[in-house]
């Protein structure tokens, strides 16, 4: 049984996606949640490029991947800015403490 390159890419997509979901489910630190989101998005970008490679529409896949990268970076930067402000206000990065911001 031999693995082709595309099989390996699918393996990478699955592993990175799994790691990202696991971190999102178990982590409570805001910065770690941003790291988990980054891992998730990397797997998605890899899959978009793989889909372009398979269907022969690389230009469309690349432009889609560029959009995903821009959106992901914006989410990460805004998330970090929010984390800094939450740390200043609550002196914690725990997601459970953020519930106190409602009061």
């Amino acid at each position: 049984m031999s693995f082709s390159f595309l099989d390996m890419i699918i393996l990478a997509v699955l592993c990175l996606f799994g790691i990202g979901i696991y971190a999102l489910l178990t982590m409570r630190n805001l910065i770690r949640i941003i790291v988990a989101l980054q891992l998730l998005v990397k797997s998605v970008i890899l899959f978009v490029i793989l889909a372009g490679n398979i269907t022969g529409q690389m230009a469309l896949a690349q432009s889609m991947a560029a959009t995903v990268i821009v959106a992901d970076t914006i989410v990460a930067v805004l998330g970090m800015a929010l984390a800094v402000q939450i740390k200043r206000k609550t002196h914690s990065l725990d997601t459970k403490d953020i519930a106190g911001l409602r009061r």
Binding site: A59, S63, Q85
Partner: protein
């Protein structure tokens, strides 16, 4: 076969990014993962996106992460996870099996080189998807302005105003 080692290294670095005790180490492992993913993207035949991913994922995001970690502190207390780890692992395996069963048949769609759509990336971005590109530029400016206003230290700016009077 050597590509397998890149895939393995990317997965191990991704795992280290969420497992390492210090947040700054996490940021560095994430940067290495990003570099390896961009290498895989390059091998898939998308050099432009590989370069963008390398400069944005391993460059900008890592610098901003390290900057944010410097402000908020690198200490991290061990706390009980929101979802028990055993349940999280079960959920992850369920999701991986579900996605895997969807992804693996996709390979059958593989088209021959003669059927490939030969279109330039710049042509696609600046002609076919011009509106999307414009929206992305606006989003980037919005993000910069939003981040500047969020990062501003309100207490310091208030102190500054008081000192003026």
């Amino acid at each position: 076969m050597w590509q397998f080692f890149i895939v393995l290294a990317a997965c191990v670095c991704g795992l280290q990014a969420i497992q390492s005790k210090k947040l700054s180490h996490s940021a560095l492992w994430l940067a290495v993962t990003s570099g390896l993913v961009s290498l895989l993207i390059y091998l898939l035949g998308a050099p432009q996106i590989a370069v963008i991913e390398l400069s944005v994922g391993a460059g900008v995001v890592t610098i901003l992460l390290v900057f944010a970690i410097n402000i908020v502190g690198d200490e991290q207390e061990e706390k009980k996870p929101l979802v028990p780890k055993a349940i999280a692992i079960l959920v992850v395996f369920g999701i991986m099996i579900l996605i895997g069963s969807t992804l693996i048949p996709v390979k059958e769609l593989s088209v021959s080189i003669s059927e490939t759509v030969t279109q330039n990336l710049s042509e696609m971005m600046w002609q076919d998807r011009f509106l999307d590109t414009l929206l992305q530029i606006i989003l980037i400016f919005t993000c910069v302005l939003g981040t500047l206003s969020l990062m501003e230290d309100r207490n310091k700016s208030k102190e500054g105003e008081n000192n003026e009077f």
